[in-house]
Amino acid sequence: MSLSLDEVRRIAVLARLELSPEEEQLFQGQLSAVLDYVAQLNELDVSGVEPMTHALAEATPLRPDEVRPSLPPEEAVRAAPAREGTFFKVPRIIE
């Protein structure tokens, strides 16, 4: 399974990664090698096998729907690279 450079670029856009031309080249080869390797899963007959979607057999736990204290907004935004008051500041979204 070999990925084309165009596919590498398409995946990078989906992943919100800005790759350099060198990285595109490098990843094209490395990701193709990994995809070749994982293709061995196709040797297995998995018809009728349920996917393992949960690691535990336990029922989803519930808790009472009560109001509890959470992180104060001032603390929640403190680590943001740009903020205004208790808001995250981002570049213009509507162009």
């Binding site: 990664l17 800005e18 990285e23 390797y37 690279p81 981002v90 213009r92």
Partner: protein, 495 residues
């Protein structure tokens, strides 16, 4: 207590006894650990941050409790260190990544809370592969970590610092996380004990997420008893992690000395037949013979889907990582780069500057595996293979109590040996990933030194779900029989 060196050679359990008897103070133990970090870490590189003032204050508080006869338990006053994947309120947490450089979390991970509530003194944050992605610690964005047995070798990864700090006598116990072998492989390479608990046994709250269906925090210790003492404190239900189990936590000390007699040890012969370096296989076979001599019964078991483990893992883990790492977007924490073209440009520029090569590779792989048209062929198929792997183990555990085999195909490899070939690095995890995929507990315990290389070899023990107690018992039986490994010499030899 006499010299600091002697103090640092104590196991966690021995130190705890000495603290309880007030033969040594927590402050002395903490100063000794901090001084050891100062003296050795330029060469080892196990620590990304040292929290000396906070540690001293907590040590003094522990000593004050001890003086009142009000120790909180066996960890009270014991200097520990944790992988830098665990959030620590007020102490920088990087996950080994530039994208989180300078980030100071506003809350503690559940396991950090539990350790501190038990009186432990956390002296610092440990080096690791970026976002726990790697098997050699060479993917740390900040600095390499080296193996105290041979400074030209890797300590393993991703919890490299957690294992190296113990081998270097810089802390008395550590925590790591294990997604595909990240506790067990470094434990094996550095000659310490490392336990990956059953998925759900330990809370993931406040652990920087890598692959959420596989990640599990766990303890590393210089002895089996030390690992048991740490697990005792960190295990148990936490309602902030919906996947943490409400099953009662066993008393891990209770059966620790029960020995190997009466245990049935399953041996997947194929794990010793191919792909394992001969000197490693020899030590593992000797450990199996020791179990037999101690009264355990050995039976052959088949785990026929093991060879598909890496392939399933390298679809599932990157897929989950690509989703988890979407949060690093330059908005709420960490790095931001302006980029061209508004918000999307900012996202892409931030992520390009902040992520190293391995996270980028895995994000790319995971994004591809989850993208339209490929989900069934990759992620869904891998999840079905996971069921097959789990069934392999269920069948094996009808015939045995624990499964024993190698942790790694080789002893610690040299820095730089595998960095240019990601797939070769991935194959390092061939014996460890199945345990994560099947959500089972796994442990690495030293089983001697490689005859020629003079480096530690680990024996892996895998147990039934939530049967950490039997793993610890079996590991202790081996440890008691073979005695402790010598202390690694590489640090002392160079002064």
């Amino acid at each position: 207590m006499t010299g600091a060196g002697e103090l640092l050679d104590l196991s966690l359990t021995e130190l705890s006894t000495a603290l309880g008897a007030r033969r040594v103070s927590s402050r002395e133990a903490t100063e000794a650990a901090l001084a050891r970090v100062d003296a050795t870490d330029a060469r080892v590189g196990a620590f990304l941050a040292v929290a000396a003032d906070r540690a001293r204050a907590r040590a003094d508080a522990a000593d004050e409790r001890a003086a009142r006869g009000a120790r909180l338990g066996p960890l009270d006053g014991v200097p520990l260190a944790v992988k830098d994947l665990f959030l620590t309120r007020g102490v920088a947490t990087t996950a080994g990544s530039r994208i989180l450089e300078g980030f100071t979390p506003p809350y503690d991970a559940a396991v950090v809370e539990r350790l501190e509530a038990a009186g432990a003194v956390i002296v610092g944050k440990l080096n690791m592969d970026e976002f726990a992605m790697g098997s050699s610690n060479e993917n740390s964005a900040f600095k390499p970590c080296r193996n105290p047995w041979d400074l030209a070798r890797t300590p393993g990864g991703s919890s490299g610092g957690s294992a190296a700090a113990l081998a270097a006598r810089q802390a008395f116990g550590t925590l790591g996380t294990d997604t595909g072998g990240s506790i067990r492989e470094p434990a094996a390479f550095c000659g310490v004990v490392g336990l990956k608990p059953t998925y759900g046994r330990v809370s993931r709250y406040g652990v920087v997420a890598f692959a959420s269906s596989l990640d599990q925090p766990g303890p590393l210790g210089r002895t089996v008893s030390d690992a048991a003492a740490l697990l005792q404190v960190i295990a148990g239900r936490d309602e902030r992690d919906m996947t943490s189990s409400s099953r009662p936590v066993d008393d891990y000390g209770a059966a620790l000395e029960a020995g190997a007699r009466g245990l049935t040890v399953g041996v997947p012969r194929a794990w010793l037949a191919e792909g394992v370096e001969e000197g490693v296989a020899r030590r593992v076979k000797e450990a199996l013979a020791t179990y037999e001599r101690l009264g355990a019964k050995l039976v052959d078991v088949e785990l026929p889907h093991t060879k598909y483990g890496i392939a399933a893992y390298y679809l599932i883990a990157p897929a989950e990582a690509s989703s988890n790492l979407a949060r690093y977007d330059g908005v709420r924490f960490g790095l931001r780069r302006a980029g061209a073209g508004g918000l999307k440009g900012m996202y892409a520029a931030t992520r390009d500057a902040g992520f190293g090569a391995e996270p980028k590779r895995r994000i790319m792989l995971g994004t591809y595996a989850l993208s339209a048209g490929y989900y069934d062929a990759y992620y869904l198929r891998a999840q079905k293979v996971r069921t097959l792997l789990r069934r392999d183990f269920e069948r094996a555990f009808e015939r045995c109590d624990v499964i024993a085999g190698p942790v790694t195909p080789t002893v610690a490899f040299r820095l730089g040996e595998k960095v240019s070939d990601p797939l070769a690095m991935y194959l390092q995890d061939v014996f460890t990933v199945t345990c994560n995929l099947a959500a089972l507990p796994g442990l690495s315990v030293p089983c001697g030194l490689h005859a020629e290389e003079k480096l530690p070899v680990g024996l892996q023990l895998i147990g039934r779900p939530f049967d950490e107690a039997t793993l610890l018992r079996a590991a202790r039986a081996l440890e008691r029989e073979q005695g402790p490994l010598p202390a690694p010499g590489a640090l002392e030899a160079r002064g």
